[in-house]
Symmetry: C3
Subunit: 677 residues, 3 copies
């Protein structure tokens, strides 16, 4: 099923802020949009101050004209609730709606997102506006989707105001019932922190030293929930008035402040804004985030809601995307599950903080530049790709991804604060990406049975039921790979006692006796012998576990320091499956080799073998397969196709045997024997 | 005309703070001052707390005695208004007079400059003191000049208090008339920032992300104006009571917070405080600032009001000026238009935050050390140089320098935040300095017709009338050179639409299609062919413009990246003149070579050709010329004099042909055939 | 006399926080403690919130049970006053008890040490608890020592609240009597800072630039005194109720905020917490701090109150102590005067901010790991070392160490802020450590006559009587070595006028004409000729004094810059002694060589000659000597023993001639002819 029944195609368009322009420019916009293949635009995201001049009055005139113009031109609207940035009068009328930082400093009006998510005034006025918008446009022919607020938490993901303090206590009471239970969960007998009443509890604002980790962790949960609750306040109104229109907000990829698995339950489609550093080489991190976004709703296609055509404005220096790169990266999104490609923004602003942020139409305002030409080319290509809509990716490998683990792992007071969640996830993801293997991200308590291999890097926090889930998965034949500093704490960041990693010891067949974090310039070695292709000597960094085997066998051992010769990487047969453990941060070559061997044992293969730098991905529907080949190199690359004839969906070219992709080239291969739509 | 009729000589002296010493030391001070050739001292700068023990009472006794002592010893007073640092009782009585930072934190009493420039209490009590000082000393024989406050904005150039908020709104109302106009200027339809009433407008204090650039830019204007208004409050009182006594405040060189062109209109003489890093090599930056100070009032001589004899106290580490360097740098100031050399301070303090700041008399307190010896030598030399008073520098080259452009260019949210105003100005200034070419700094709307070459590096902001001014100048035969990221925005930081640089496209004969900022370790190349001596290959960094020629010819092209071969440097004949454009940050050798060629075409030459490291400058009066040669090298240098006989004004030596300057040596050459005073 | 009559042995144990565990774990704790040789534990440090559930009520039940259990098991209690971290209800009831930072931000409850030391509420409730504890346990058989609060000032050593402001004014009035005197001391005629009334004086909070140095220095004194006063409030109660029980608080080594010489007057024994970076090589800094702690009470043995068995949790990354290192460093403490070895903590916490801080019993909770085995080995060894109790170290060399000098030297606004107190002290300490020479630290006004050599590095501040003391010491035959930037200011950071270093000029026979701080990458050279073994060329950095001799002779001269050839190091015979001056930061080899020569002249020798990396120290009692040899190298080392037979106190081994110490090995040599206890 497509995202919106009203637009059963790949979405193509961008944020459209016509309120920044005289209305005669709107007509030129329509012409240029149609020429570029635009079929949807996001409107009204920052329009609250225009739509509502004061606490009592509204002015929908311009929006009416805009929506009608869009409808007249056959362009759909992703209509925003306009609550992303409250008007100045709200800050003036309700200064307490402005958020407060950990030092007690209240933010000022003058940029954007200056609201406390728990502010009653913000919610009251914001929801009032949403209700009016929903009623006014519920039957409008241009309305294809609701865009709630914008990039929740982007700048203000924490607030320390008085209202948040009260709400935090309520949230805790809801979660723990009694102060006694809270004391047990937070371990408040440490450092004399015991509470006797709810109203003794403060937010973890500026403290003399490390705040209670349980308190910090719950505060992160609370803030994710507070923002979600602000979202839900608008969501429910929209669902009540327009039950059939899809509702969503746009994420920012792997964004720490929001538990996106929880949020995605309340979104009809996941959308996100992707801004990779354009000089950072092959966009593995973007690929990973596309896969994460696709995974948030179990494989359902997502939408790339924002990217930039050329250059952004907010880094210290903002190089251009080279010619062809915007197109290549747009296809990467589609290859990994996006059903659309959208940009911030349509027409580059004349004024304001983002006037140097690239757009589909630049400051020259015409259709002659490189940027618009590339935009129009892509838009017109996408029209030919309708067959891709709602096709799916079938992954045999999953990586465990849990926001609670992320939050807990990166709290202060650790054996090493150099162990960062996304780096550890990315370390394993990269090896799979390079090998062309599709990956899903799943939560630790999810059903894992459809995966042949589950990887759990740095699964520091293991909540209730998780070790049972993992054991059952392996018992029944699954393969698990986990790494150092996993299985250490429970959902309140309390140690699982009884020898690390207590809840995984049985499954892994080992005990970690000590952690030895390494300094930045320190290394150890991994020696692998008797393991076939993997044999050799590798470098490892960051961390060494001192491991005692309790049934596992050593695959690699450390080569240096007082624990030289002790196991570093192990394997343990458990039931019908196998559990691997990597007790250090091994160099890429080792991870790639180890995964190659495991995947080969499990019979997991890429759709097509490609050289490094040529990304491969496959989308499928009943009886149909579309294999994407994306050449990220700045030189041509050869790919040997499987024994069959293919057609490139973009060019219509017939391909067979060995194909040569020029730099930045994209192919979407459809097997000729299959039924194409 | 000399700065002060009462002191028609080069000023020599320093800040004198006798309130820190018992009065018997004052007598020793007089002896040492006269021995050192001191003819003027700045007194009372930090004396408010002593002159006024509380809100009602004053005590001028010690100042009376001091002024009389100075008069008795033939030393003039640059008498301060003493408002630079309010007394503790004012902070106690009016805490709201203390300034507030962007986080809402009010500063404490305990150092200096702890006042909000808009504070009513500060102005009331400060002006009350000024009025009394002016009446008391208006006829005093020692009074030669008024020194208003001190280094305005040095530590507190921004305040975010409630009074400033109110004044900012008034200032905006004054400037824009209606809220509607303000909305248009600031582009408030971006990010929902539209205002409906003046009192909705806040200062750009701590915001979640980038504040509105128009708001930021106007706040910088407002703060410069607020400080100027505080100055004018004192200035007007002094002018009313002592209309014939020159009034000024001391600048700090190219100081971003103050629009010094605007300020200089209200000063009888420009003075400034110069503290180059003593280990930073040839003092090009000091030379540039001397030229800027001289330019602020159209070439009128300025005064070097403060420098240090030896070492300062406020850097992380404070090396000494080597022997001879203080003298050399003092003459540099005179060479570039100063009519005096003064120091902070006369006698090194025993206590307080600046006790390790060097002085004319050090902690030993006697006349035997190296420092005093050098001070006395210089003071006695200057007595011989009366002929220099009020002589002028005639520059054929101007660099455009506009504080509004500086402010706007360095706001956040740019294609590259590595483009810094003074660096871009200095890049071209250095080439001229090395070539011995005199330079004026002028505002973009100034009359340019007396200059053969006008250079406008990074003229990002172009306000009303500026492109007409530049076009008219070139049309009538002038030569303009401007560089990348020029002509981009108007006076409210709104894009000039229609293709960069819209207001200069016609004049430059080109269009910049895209900006490509470079990363710090990134370079491109410039290829020059068919341009005679300039031919060759050069390096460029920081930024590349992708240029489409519209009448201009390419002088150099890029050598790498997808725009290799496209124009990087261009020339365009326009009317009777020529307009050059440099679309990148070229290496020094290219800039030097290009300017050499242009200056040669225009017949602009230095007074004398000197080797690198030997600075040359010329001051003139009717029929007289004084050529300064300053050897900044740590070894001797040879200079070939023009065919004439010269006399060195300092030593009286006759010179001809080739002269050899020892390290740090200074010559002031007067042509023997001219009439010397 | 041992520290506690009730425990006449070397202390062995750790912080014990049983409130974090169910009571059945307590029994296992007793078993493991006894097995490990534990004889004392610190209890109750963070128990306030448990002992006092609200402002009116107390609950001592669990502590009664714990104290009884300890007594039953023959383990002594170092009983804490539990005031280190106030309960949440106090923050709720008295928010003004929370400390305030220099920006006026009040700290939150949620970590620890969140109290203003001057808070009336904190003192009232804290002392109320102490009184009850003292009455309740005064006759308890387990009570061996009182542990007041914990690590005073660790996180909050400065407070800027309203109460502190009032107290600061009182403290100043007490110190100076009149505002006039304060003005003179602080030099307030500088920068218009003159005060007319006590209540005009503010704390040196956030000021626009450098605050008055006299004010800053007095504020540091005031805060040390404020914390001491908080300590004394508890101390006096304990002394009144239990006059015979030793009372102390635990220091953190050379900790800048507390004037530990002043504090130690009010402690029965000095104890401290030592956490060297485990990868930083030979623990010279720890040795130095052990010596300082021993010196605070004139050589009386101290207690190593906290160290970690394995790894801490609060650095960015926290490597393990390698096997044997904990033992080696424990013996280092004893070698340098500790009468005990204790740890934070007994049992590793399950929750809270320190759960990854190592402990005697780790998270595995059993006796099988490396850590517990090493703990138990050491505990059982110490039982054999009772002879060491209350033995003393006899040093012939002293280093002057003055907190007031430390504070003043590191204020802002200096010729160089790279001159850091501990680095300068450590520079000379290291040479003595390497040479095996025992060192005491003494205050500048102390009786110096028992020392053959006194070293005063960077003795910037010289208060009343100090130069007389130093002159008298040298006059009578002592040897003094002092260094650059000494003798510069008085106790109020006012310059000693009359040529640097005015109060030492006569003694040193020289005058320092100028200071020339060097940049980080800058060096000069030292040339030594005619000085025997010391002859050669050395490097120096950081600072150069330009010295004029006035009776001293030059031992070394600078080799570069305009002062090349001028004296850099001097010697001056004064009375029967000699005064050396080092006018730069000389490289290690020079300092070592110079001290070797001076010590040789003075006949000062180490107990045994050892190779670099083998630490030596000697503890003595009447007729007995114990020579410690500690091999800090990671390889064996040979030491040649004096001509006598020795017994190693730990192993009982007989040793003679040359002994070989393996890596990390420790020997405690007792001469066989002496009388052992």
């Amino acid at each position: 099923m497509p995202v919106s029944k009203k637009l059963p195609q790949l979405f193509y368009g961008g944020d459209y802020n016509p309120e920044q322009w005289p209305e005669d420019v709107w007509l030129e916009d329509m012409r240029l949009m149609k020429q570029a293949g635009v079929n949807i635009v996001s409107v009204g995201i920052f329009s609250w101050a225009i739509l509502q001049p004061n606490a009592e009055n509204y002015d929908f005139g311009w929006l009416d004209r805009l929506m009608n113009l869009l409808a007249d031109n056959g362009i759909m609207a992703d209509l925003a609730t306009a609550t992303a940035s409250p008007p100045a009068w709200l800050a003036q009328l309700h200064p307490e709606s402005l958020p407060v930082d950990e030092n007690g400093v209240r933010f000022s009006h003058g940029s954007r997102q200056h609201y406390c998510p728990n502010s009653k005034a913000f919610r009251h006025y914001g929801q009032g506006l949403v209700r009016r918008l929903a009623h006014r446009y519920k039957d409008h022919p241009a309305l294809a989707m609701w865009h709630v607020n914008n990039e929740y938490g982007c700048h203000v993901s924490r607030c320390y105001c008085a209202e948040c303090t009260v709400r935090f206590r309520e949230w805790l009471q809801q979660r723990y019932g009694t102060v006694q239970e809270l004391n047990a969960r937070w371990g408040t007998n440490f450092w004399s922190q015991k509470y006797y009443a709810w109203d003794e509890i403060a937010l973890p604002a500026k403290t003399p030293t490390f705040a209670n980790p349980g308190q910090q962790l719950d505060y992160m949960r609370f803030m994710s929930d507070s923002l979600l609750d602000a979202y839900l306040g608008e969501y429910r109104i929209l669902k009540q008035i327009t039950p059939d229109v899809p509702v969503m907000t746009n994420f920012m990829g792997a964004f720490k402040p929001l538990d996106e698995f929880e949020w995605a339950k309340h979104m009809d489609v996941v959308t996100w804004d992707s801004y990779p550093e354009p000089t950072a080489g092959i966009p593995v991190a973007a690929a990973m985030q596309h896969d994460l976004m696709r995974s948030l709703r179990g494989g359902q296609p997502f939408i790339l809601m924002e990217q930039v055509t050329s250059q952004v404005n907010w880094r210290q220096r903002n190089p251009l995307k080279r010619p062809g790169v915007m197109r290549l990266w747009s296809y990467q999104a589609i290859a990994r599950g996006s059903d659309g490609v959208m940009f911030f923004q349509w027409r580059q602003s004349r004024a304001g903080a983002e006037k140097f942020h690239g757009a589909m139409v630049t400051h020259t305002g015409d259709e002659n530049g490189r940027v618009y030409r590339e935009v129009a080319q892509l838009g017109n290509e996408l029209k030919r790709l309708q067959a891709l809509v709602d096709t799916r990716i079938e992954a045999k490998v999953a990586i465990l991804f849990d926001w609670h683990n992320w939050w807990a792992l990166e709290l202060d007071s650790k054996p090493s604060r150099d162990v960062l969640f996304l780096e550890q996830i990315g370390h394993y993801y990269k090896a799979l990406f390079d090998a062309g293997i599709a990956v899903d991200f799943v939560q630790p308590h999810a059903d894992l049975n459809k995966y042949r291999l589950v990887i759990a890097p740095a699964l520091y926090l293991i909540g209730p039921g998780v070790s049972d889930n993992l054991e059952a998965y392996v018992q029944q034949g699954g393969t698990l790979l986990t790494t150092f500093f996993s299985g250490i704490v429970d959902e309140n960041d309390r140690i699982h006692l009884g020898g690390y990693p207590a809840p995984l010891r049985k499954l892994l067949g080992l005990c970690v006796e000590e952690f030895d974090p390494m300094l930045p310039d320190q290394t150890n070695g991994l020696r692998v012998r008797g393991q076939g292709d993997l044999d050799g000597d590798y470098k490892c960094t960051l961390w060494a576990d001192i491991i005692r085997l309790e049934g596992a066998e050593a695959l690699a051992s450390f080569t240096a320091d007082f624990f030289a010769g002790s196991p570093a990487v192990t394997a343990h047969t458990f039931g019908q499956g196998k559990a691997y453990y990597v007790g250090t941060h091994a160099e890429d070559a080792f991870v790639a080799g180890m995964l190659r061997r495991i995947l080969s044992d499990l019979g997991v293969q890429p759709p097509v073998m490609t050289p490094l730098g040529v990304e491969v991905s496959e989308r499928r529907a009943e009886g149909r397969s579309y294999i994407f080949l994306l050449n990220h190199l700045d030189q041509p690359a050869e790919v040997q196709l499987p024994a069959a004839g293919f057609t490139d969906l973009i060019s219509g070219r017939k391909l067979q045997g060995s194909v040569r992709l020029s730099a930045n080239e994209v192919l979407i291969l459809h097997k000729d024997t299959e039924h194409a739509v």
